[in-house]
């Protein structure tokens, strides 16, 4: 039996019933798209189109179109890659780790957060693929495919290859996890659908789901195991991403703190992106009863925690550089803070270390406007973190004659804009045609955590006992 806690605030407000959940979520899918939605899609398609030209030039003319030089051989491409992968991590954290911890507040945000994960990973994958220069041959360089060179296999000792496996496994498992959760909700839409097109499409997508007790039983087992698999997976993905740097001998990269530091940073930036998207979605789709201030506050608390871990990691890096006594290491960090890229370093410090601390104040933590602004600030800060780590470590080579600066070209920017357009186009399409809230899960917690439910249940039990006492008179 479910127990209602008198201490915890209700997760779903507005006295919603099970049927209300269906109507509130399905209405968005069933009704005609609004003007705002068309404008939003048009804007993101616009960005996509502008960026597409850059992508075309990058592929057609080669990566010489980027601002890379002999010294700084990695810059925006890998910055964007790490940034996007990091953003994706919050989705898995919400859907898998919070499931294992039985945190029920995840239920109304996990669907959209997982969608964000999948789209972010697609955007992230664009950059290594483009950086291959000839993406059509990329499969031979990235995957152990038999080839005519003997077969000359890929190098399994390389962190870059580990990354290929990590990212593709992460993408596949996230997609499967997300889709399994979507099947029951597609079935709900299918059973309500009036038009022949929507009935056929959602009928196909819902895989013939009928909600039988046996299938639900298996479904729950599958969800739990997938969560158990996704949890170490998500930690491994950013750990392996950090190995791309940590296993090299570049000062500023060669540290053992990188894996936990990258994972914390990933969750930090991911939650900021979830907040940015959720605040828009709840406003546009009027889902204030499902994504409450309580949810926003919870996510802000996670931002404080992970933001503080990131802050501690920055300071630890500085301390270790000094304590190690390695001259190159010390110079790398001094140069980050006071060298030609000082502005990037201090932007990163302000956005990632100082700004999340504002969430200690309850008023800011529960303010929608402040949360929205800070979520964007955090995302900017996390982009700069990767830029600082990558470019400032590379631009001062061991040989002073090789010292250089990095100047991004318009094509660096264009490729980034392409992925932003891609991400938002995917997200808006998802928000229109897919159920943005996991209806089945939210329905299952209404009794325990809905606002009106305890009284409802009491009245039901009383009528039930009355029936039991006088079955013949009431029913015959």
């Amino acid at each position: 039996m479910e127990v209602t806690s008198p201490v915890r605030k209700p997760l779903v407000t507005g006295g919603k019933t099970v049927h209300d959940v269906t109507v509130d979520v399905c209405r968005r899918v069933e009704e005609k798209p609004t003007i705002t939605w068309f404008l939003a899609v048009a804007a993101s398609l616009g960005l996509l189109t502008i960026g597409l030209y850059s992508v075309f030039r990058t592929v057609w003319d080669g990566i010489g179109m980027w601002g890379l030089n002999k010294t700084v051989g990695w810059a925006w491409d890998i910055t964007n890659f790490v940034w996007w992968v990091g953003i994706g991590h919050a989705g898995t954290l919400i859907s898998a780790i919070l499931l294992l911890f039985r945190q029920r507040w995840r239920m109304s945000i996990n669907r959209a957060a997982e969608a964000m994960t999948i789209f972010a990973v697609i955007c992230a994958a664009m950059f290594p693929v483009l950086h291959m220069g000839r993406p059509w041959l990329g499969a031979y360089w990235a995957l152990p495919l038999p080839n005519t060179f003997g077969s000359l296999w890929v190098n399994f000792n390389s962190p870059l290859l580990w990354d290929v496996f990590a990212i593709s496994t992460y993408f596949t498992v996230s997609l499967v996890f997300w889709y399994i959760g979507l099947i029951p909700d597609f079935a709900t839409i299918r059973d309500r659908a009036k038009g022949i097109i929507s009935r056929t499409v959602y009928g196909a997508l819902s895989f013939g789901w009928n909600g039988s007790a046996r299938t639900w039983e298996r479904y729950e087992a599958v969800a739990l195991i997938l969560a158990g698999l996704a949890t170490p997976l998500v930690l491994s993905v950013h750990t392996i991403v950090s190995f791309d740097f940590a296993t090299s001998v570049i000062p500023g990269w060669h540290t053992t703190i990188f894996p936990p530091y990258f994972v914390a940073g990933a969750i930090f930036s991911g939650f900021a992106m979830v907040l940015t998207l959720m605040l828009i979605t709840r406003k546009v789709y009027k889902l204030e009863d499902y994504i409450t201030i309580n949810h926003i506050e919870m996510m802000n608390i996670i931002i404080i925690v992970t933001g503080s871990i990131v802050g501690v990691a920055y300071i630890t890096e500085l301390f270790m550089a000094w304590y190690s006594g390695v001259e190159y290491e010390q110079y790398a960090f001094l140069n980050r803070a006071t060298g030609p890229y000082w502005w990037a370093y201090w932007t990163m410090m302000t956005c990632n270390v100082v700004s999340p601390q504002l969430f200690w104040i309850k008023k800011i933590r529960t303010s929608i406007v402040a949360t929205f602004i800070l979520s964007i600030v955090v995302n900017i800060g996390m982009w700069f973190e990767r830029f600082v780590i990558i470019v400032t470590s590379l631009h001062r080579d061991y040989l002073p004659s090789s010292w250089a600066m990095f100047q991004p070209t318009i094509y660096d920017l264009g490729d980034f804009i392409f992925t932003i357009g891609l991400f938002f186009t995917f997200f808006f399409l998802f928000a229109k045609f897919f159920p943005v809230i996991n209806m089945a899960e939210v329905k299952s917690i209404l009794k325990a955590t809905g606002e009106k439910q305890p009284t409802m249940r009491e009245s039901q039990t009383t009528t039930q006992t009355a029936e039991e006492m006088t079955p013949t008179t009431s029913k015959n």
């Binding site: 019933t17 049927h19 269906t22 152990p144 003997g150 077969s151 296999w153 190098n155 399994f156 000792n157 962190p159 290859l161 580990w162 496996f165 990590a166 496994t169 596949t172 498992v173 499967v176 996890f177 099947i183 029951p184 079935a187 709900t188 299918r190 059973d191 009928g203 196909a204 895989f207 013939g208 789901w209 009928n210 909600g211 039988s212 007790a213 046996r214 299938t215 639900w216 039983e217 298996r218 479904y219 087992a221 599958v222 195991i225 997938l226 698999l229 997976l233 392996i240 190995f243 209806m439 089945a440 899960e441 329905k443 299952s444 009794k447 249940r457 039901q460 039930q464 029936e467 029913k475």
Partner: protein
């Protein structure tokens, strides 16, 4: 015979009552997983975790075999003067493939045993089962008890509607 309930706890009690009166339930259909329903219906625990484990082991073995064959036997290469093969550097790929095969294998098994596939046709007794109603289906052909009595039992157990359907 299809009994429609409008509360999951009522359905849960009803399942116990109906089974106690000797009626065999075909299946229940609910909009969300109702905890304890499987037990009440007398279902055994799903063996899917075992499938996940076996597929995981398969992934581990295939990944290790692949890496040892490619790096150690088929084309050994000197990379940084290190050993041709080493478990630590093979570990990340092994881990990822373990997770991948475990997840895909388990979900594939789930799809097959639950008869879920694209364009799969759902066997539905009541369309509201995916919205807010809880359905109990009883196959009259498999029950020797009188139809009127089954109906009465369902109503007594709290069903708001009892319909007869040809399937």
């Amino acid at each position: 015979m299809v009994g429609v309930f409008d509360d999951d706890d009522v359905l849960l009690n009803a399942v116990t009552k109906v089974r106690e009166s000797g009626i065999r339930i075909h299946e229940c259909y609910t909009p969300f997983p109702v905890h304890g329903l499987g037990d009440a219906l007398g279902y055994k625990r799903s063996k899917l975790p075992i499938a996940a484990f076996l597929f995981g082991i398969l992934g581990t073995s295939l990944a290790l075999l692949m890496q040892f064959y490619m790096m150690g036997i088929d084309w050994p290469m000197i990379i940084g003067g290190k050993d041709f093969t080493s478990i630590p550097t093979f570990f990340p790929v092994t881990f990822e493939l373990t997770v991948l095969l475990s997840a895909l294998g388990m979900v594939g098994t789930f799809m097959i045993i639950s008869d879920l596939r694209p364009y799969g046709k759902a066997k539905i007794f009541d369309l509201r089962a995916t919205d807010d109603k809880y359905i109990m289906a009883i196959n009259l052909a498999k029950n020797s008890i009188d139809t009127a009595e089954i109906k009465q039992t369902l109503v007594n157990a709290g069903a708001i509607e009892v319909n007869e359907k040809q399937n």
